[in-house]
């Protein structure tokens, strides 16, 4: 059997295995174990570990590393990620890839230390000033996180974009068995800054921003077409489809299995890429579906908006979208099942 490992340590090790050699970050609960682990692990492999003076500075330190073509990453939690947005926006503007692990803690402002999914809208909409997106990947297990971290770096390099591994306090803090890929060696990106001035550098003042904006739109369209990821269960005959990601998605996976065994025709879409949102999954749903249910670890409903927007593009645009609010903690299978019965009995009003 595989060794047990703590989530935050697994994230860090996965990045190392994916060829990352540079980390800058700032301590914050519940993601600090990532940098604690790296403070020893990165020097061991000849990489660079910097404990920065602030979240913002860590992102700007990464800017220098990424502009140098080095595979680099950072980690934080919710309010800490807010502080990084300035740098994330600037890196997006400079087409610099990075991986940022957001171990979400629930809440607004300082928030809480509880697990949650309260950063969905911020992370999937870019987050900082400007007209950009980052890849947002959400794992439902440590094994999936390990795979998504490698994939996230590759996506970033391919498109010249940042990637956010959007996970939750609970996944960062829990332990489960996990296997890691072999160490990968990654060369510095072609065209990066190394002091030799081998490539022309256009000042931001002289870039053709209008053309770049048009090109960005085309790039994002191509990403939406080619990079959606999701997991699904029993969509073909589903009367109701539950949509949930991360650990809520894990709970929902179990709940759907049990509901099926109990005779309910329930399907599941578990988005793995939160951006691009897995719109294609919805094309596979039974045309006579009665409704969609978003299960989220927040109170106000965030992903539910993307579900409703996605349905606008399908022939199911009139179908109701419900939301189960779980502001604190991971919804249990029991809770999801009970809420489902309430929807079925008409006791819960749709959001859209």
């Amino acid at each position: 059997m595989e060794d047990m490992i703590k989530g935050n340590h697994a994230f860090a090790e996965a990045a190392i295995r994916a060829g990352a050699t540079f980390y800058a970050g700032y301590p914050i609960t519940p993601s600090s174990e990532i940098m604690e682990y790296l403070s020893v692990r990165l020097p061991e492999i000849g990489g660079v570990f910097i404990q920065a003076e602030s979240e913002g500075a860590s992102m700007n330190i990464l800017t220098g590393a990424s502009a140098s073509g080095v595979r680099c990453f950072t980690a934080s939690s919710s309010v800490g990620m807010t502080l990084k947005q300035e740098g994330i926006s600037h890196m997006a503007d400079s087409y610099l890839p990075f991986l940022a692990i957001n171990v979400v803690r629930y809440g607004t402002g300082l928030g809480t230390l509880d697990t949650g999914q309260s950063d969905y809208l911020r992370d999937t909409r870019g987050g900082g000033s400007g007209d950009y997106r980052t890849f947002v990947l959400s794992p439902y297990s440590l094994q999936e996180a390990v795979e998504l971290i490698g994939h996230g770096f590759d996506l970033g390099d391919k498109y010249g974009m940042g990637t956010i591994l959007h996970t939750e306090a609970a996944l960062g803090q829990m332990m489960e068995p996990c296997t890691f890929p072999e160490m990968k060696k990654v060369e510095r990106r072609h065209g990066s800054i190394d002091g030799t001035y081998s490539f022309e550098r256009i000042s931001p003042l002289y870039r053709d921003r209008r053309q770049e904006a048009i090109d960005e739109k085309a790039k994002y369209d191509s990403i939406k077409e080619n990079e959606q990821m999701w997991a699904e269960e029993s969509l073909e005959d589903a009367e109701y489809v539950i949509v949930a990601y991360g650990l809520a998605g894990r709970s929902a996976t179990g709940a759907v299995k049990q509901l099926r065994n109990e005779g309910y025709k329930v399907g599941l879409i578990r988005p793995i890429t939160l951006w691009p949102f897995p719109e294609k999954a919805f094309d596979k749903v039974n045309k006579d579906v009665k409704g969609y249910i978003s299960v989220e670890e927040n109170a106000t409903g965030q992903m539910v908006e993307d579900i409703a927007l996605t349905l606008k593009k399908t022939i199911q645009s009139s179908k109701p979208v419900y939301m189960f609010a779980n502001a604190f903690g991971i919804p249990t299978m029991k809770k999801i099942k009970a809420d489902f019965i309430s929807v079925r009995n008409g006791e819960i009003k749709e959001v859209y």
Binding site: F22, S58, S68, G87, G195, S203, Y206
Partner: protein, 247 residues
């Protein structure tokens, strides 16, 4: 016998500052030093946000425009990934001492092996001459139109003195000016010392440059030079605050 002097090759394009602005001299001196050290193909100009952002199109070398105030953090990333390359962080007083004081101070604190050059013109030039951390007592700016009141805004910051006094490991700290031939020649020596310190892995080096801003000071270029020489050098003494241990 006259000595030949030519603007370095890497500065092939015209620079677009206001008449009498000091940035052009600072950029030229840095380029001269880099050229004399034969590091033109092994240097990264890391530039903050201010009027001097206009300089990067004129510098034919590896360069990167950072966010406002964040240059010393970005330079840290560059240097750690390119340890054998000269990394020069070019910033202004607003950039390095106000919005970027955390990044500036922390790069010095970590003793990053980079050279930070801060050009102090006692105001935010690019945005229209607002009061900065280095604005002199009584100085009129667009956000201190009655003259800077230090009772409510504090006294002008002296970053080089702070670094020299606080960080015993810092390699080299100096303040120069561009307002007399003597000062310019002296400044070039300071820059050369700083770059050599970096190439020798001696640690953090910092040079502040007092520079005229005729446009925002409401002066002619010559009056602005005169203000630096008469007023500023009294409060901001020129010279080396920390010399290299290795010569």
């Amino acid at each position: 016998m006259a000595i030949a002097k030519k603007v370095p090759e890497m500065l092939s394009k015209q620079i677009s500052f206001c008449p009498g602005c000091g940035h052009g001299v600072v950029v030229r001196l840095i380029a001269e030093c880099v050229e004399e050290l034969k590091m033109e193909k092994n240097v990264i100009f890391n530039v903050g946000v201010g009027c001097y952002s206009l300089a990067t199109p004129s510098i034919e070398a590896d360069k990167f425009d950072t966010l406002h105030g964040r240059a010393s953090a970005v330079a840290t990333g560059f240097k750690r990934c390119n340890p054998d390359t000269l990394v020069i962080s070019y910033q202004g007083d607003g950039d390095a001492y106000s919005i970027g004081i955390g990044e500036s101070f922390s790069a010095a604190y970590r003793n990053e092996n980079i050279t930070v050059i801060t050009v102090n013109n006692t105001n935010y030039g690019m945005t229209g001459g607002q009061m900065s951390a280095t604005t002199m007592p009584g100085q009129k700016t667009t956000t201190s139109p009655l003259g800077r009141d230090c009772n409510t805004t504090g006294m002008p910051i002296k970053f080089p003195e702070m670094v020299a006094a606080t960080f015993p490991n810092a390699a080299y700290v100096a303040r120069g000016a561009v307002t007399t031939p003597k000062y310019v020649n002296q400044l070039k020596k300071y820059i050369m010392n700083a770059l050599k310190a970096q190439m020798n892995n001696e640690g953090y080096s910092l040079i502040e440059v007092l520079s005229p801003c005729p446009t925002n000071w409401g002066m002619t270029p010559l009056q602005a030079l005169g203000r630096v020489n008469k007023e500023l050098v009294d409060y901001y003494p020129l010279g080396e605050f920390k010399t290299r241990k290795v010569k």
